[in-house]
Amino acid sequence: MLHPRRFSWFWPIGVLCVVYPALRAQSHGRQVTLSVQGPAPLRQLVNQMRAQFRWQINYEEPPWESDRDLTPAPGGARGNNGQPLFYPRGRPLTVRVDLPDQASDVAREVTARRQAIDSAFAQYRRSDNPPFFVVRHGGAYTTIVPSALVRADGRIQEYLPLMDTRVSLAPAKRSVGDTVMMVLAEVARLRSVNIVSGLIPVNAFYSSVDSEVFSEGNNEPARDILIRAFEDQNGARMRMMGLTVAYSWSLNYDRNAGSFFFNCHVHVDRVRPVVSTSPGQLP
């Protein structure tokens, strides 16, 4: 324990940092209000929607460079590299999300969920936060990726999202975790960036009875290889125990560490009976 007299300057910063990232959710019937404060508001908003609504939203950041996108840490703290700490800039954000009805019609539910995400993202775009992101929908997944990179000198430059990098992977039976790590390592090599493990669902990735899948990649986007491996495991788990396993990830960039952090979330649920889906209805 540090003595407060000698280290008193820690405390105001400490209190600030506990309150700083505060995030509130208020429910109004089928409409939910999410409030975000602190760095990287879109990252926090996605985390909140993922945790509260169990939506499969992937979120990928650019390698923040510009002072317009970054803000110094409170108190002028410095990192181990001797440089001032910077975090992604964030203005307070309040977003209203219309929740789709459950268990009525799968296609309608998916469409409503996509509309809810699009609406939340549009509210984010109006909030004077880093603007260069784009939303893509595909199957059960929504992916939010950078649409451009603001360089350190302020220039806006075209940017290929990291997981759009085309990679190849020899066909083999391997764990989901090894598949992910091999794909990320290849992306890191091809794009000359560091990718570090953040939050990893180790049980689902490595130690579960259904962790082994057949995975391969043939010069295709890294994201597609991951999703295919995840869905193979999902199918196996449904057959085995009537459970679904729903993955989504965040690729957060920490400028202070000079690395992307790959965070993967997994939600396990019971299979929900499909009510009135007919062929051709699925989006």
């Binding site: 280290f7 700083y20 920490d254 690395s259 979330h265």
Partner: protein
């Protein structure tokens, strides 16, 4: 400030005594206090940044059962557990600071040491990169990592110490660096022959007069490797009610009990085999018949062998034979189906042969609860900050009333109440919001796993490095509730037992994990 006037090992006394000890070439007073000891390493601490403040680690030993605390210049800074371990300071140790190991119950200082902080004119300003991308071991990433220390002045040589987690700095390997000019020294660090896990890279500067200093700005990397393949398990219990698909003259029902034994060799099985009353296609009215069932269940292979003999009533002509024998393997993740060859004997002569399938009737038994076992820390894939746990289903197979759940699957599912006290809005490591989605076979000993609990080394290192930089103590806790489910029918599962609480605790120098009442703790941090 704490006063120690009532004890002969008071502050002024110990300072004089310890100063003498230092002058005699020892930084420890352990020899003065028997089995209690306290040592600082490094000591002296060389600092090159002009602050006059350094970091060190206090290594202690104390009798088991003692309640101890370590004080820095009279201020409590660490309350560790006996018998031995280490507490790492922050960058606040000044020259001549006295560290004391105290017996909390008596207040007595039982060991002390003085730390010297020596300022050098050697300076450095940064390590590049502070974090390195991990290695998967598939050789798709570089086998040599390039690290550089920046802003170096007054050094005639620089080497990089590569310190493996859980090991003291004195065992770190050294890699000479090359002067690239402009204060930048660089070295390539080979990763190929290194064990899995986390590493810290520390630049050591050497002056012309031989004086050395460690750079405060350090780097970090992790080596990951090896895929993990779980063994599969055989089903372990035939106990319950089963219906076969024979038609001689009609499918029958087996009601079986299995001896409670943990032996892997065939376990005795007993019970009844019953066929309901039926009118045959030839118009013959056959009554309900009950046989005595006996056999064995091999809990190692899943092979079940059953016989039905001594029918009652004893004989009804043209209705049934007098002995049924069948054997097959109990299979599937639900252990709800067995199939294999069967034979029907009349007066000892085999008259009909074929194959049978029998299926479990009704819900399969569910364990009343479970306990947890901490097995070890992970060594797979460099996940060395993850605790390996097993679940032990109640009642243990072999105990009175015990049942074998071998071969069935259990899964973890989220419950409300997840709390992540390590995360902050500044963190690139996401906050924990759910379990990690495990599903496992139950083994022959009614155990399942491995249930990995913890954060990856890179995430632990990140929090240990960046929480203090954001004005937060490293000490933090994550708790996640875990409800277990067991498979019973295809596509179905039932919850069982109480909700387990999973806990991850980080400190500057350690990682601790727990699952229900099982726990593990290890040094981690540099």
């Amino acid at each position: 400030m704490t006063t120690l006037a009532s004890t002969c090992f008071g502050r002024q006394f110990s300072r004089a005594l310890l100063t003498a000890a230092v002058l005699l070439g020892s930084s420890s007073a352990s020899m003065l206090f028997g089995q209690w000891s306290l040592q600082a390493n490094p000591n002296p601490v060389f600092v090159a940044d002009g602050s006059g403040l350094g970091t060190t680690t206090l290594f202690y030993s104390a009798p088991v059962g003692a309640t101890i605390a370590i004080y820095a210049d009279g201020y409590l800074f660490c309350a560790p557990s006996p018998p031995s371990g280490g507490c790492m300071t922050g960058k606040w140790v000044s020259d001549g600071m006295i560290f004391e190991l105290r017996n909390v119950l008596t207040g007595a200082v039982v060991a002390s040491t003085i730390v010297q902080v020596v300022a050098t004119n050697l300076t450095c300003s940064a390590m590049d990169p502070p974090f390195y991308g991990e290695l998967t071991g598939f050789q798709v990433t570089p086998s040599v990592l390039q690290f550089s220390v920046l802003g170096v002045t007054n050094a005639t040589a620089v080497d990089f110490l590569v310190q493996q987690q859980d090991t003291p700095l004195s065992t770190a390997t050294s890699q000479a660096a090359t002067n690239l000019g402009g204060g930048r020294w660089s070295a390539g660090i080979s990763t190929l022959s290194r064990p899995l896990g986390g590493y810290r890279v520390i630049a050591r500067l050497t002056a012309a007069n031989g004086q050395q200093s460690l750079c405060d700005r350090t780097g970090f990397f992790t080596v990951y490797n090896r895929p993990y393949i779980d063994p599969s398990y055989s089903c372990g219990s035939i106990a319950g009610q089963w219906k076969d698909d024979l038609s001689y003259p009609v499918p029958g029902t087996w009601t079986l009990t299995q001896a409670a034994t943990s032996a892997f060799v065939p376990v005795p099985v007993s019970g009844t085999y019953k066929t309901p009353p039926v009118t045959t296609s030839a118009g013959l009215n056959c009554p309900e018949v009950t046989w005595i069932a006996s056999g064995t269940m091999n809990t190692s292979s899943g092979l079940v062998t059953l016989s039905a003999t001594n029918p009652s009533p004893a004989s009804v002509p043209n209705c049934y034979k007098n002995t049924l024998q069948q054997s097959g393997y109990l299979r599937g993740v639900f252990c709800d189906q067995a199939s294999g060859p069967f034979g029907i004997l009349k007066d000892g002569v085999n008259v009909i042969n074929g194959t049978f399938t029998m299926r479990r009737q009704g819900l399969t038994p569910v364990p009343p609860g479970e306990s947890s076992l901490f097995v070890n820390w992970s060594t797979y894939n460099g996940r060395t900050t993850m605790g390996m746990f097993e679940g032990l289903l109640a009642l243990p197979f072999g105990a009175p009333g015990g049942f074998s759940f071998a071969g069935r699957t259990v899964a973890e599912q989220d419950s409300p109440g997840v709390f992540d006290g390590c995360w902050g809005g500044w963190s690139a490591v996401n906050n924990v919001t759910e379990l990690s989605g495990g599903i496992w076979y139950v083994s022959r000993l009614n155990r399942y796993g491995t249930d990995y609990i913890g954060l990856m080394p890179s995430a632990v290192g990140y929090y240990q490095a960046y929480r203090p930089l954001n004005g937060l103590p490293v000490n933090c806790t994550i708790t996640v509730p875990q409800q277990m489910f067991i498979s019973d029918m295809p596509g179905q599962s039932q919850s069982y037992g109480q909700v387990n609480t999973l806990t991850i605790r980080l400190s500057p120098s350690s990682v601790a994990v727990s699952r229900a009442f099982a726990a593990g703790e290890k040094p981690f941090g540099f």
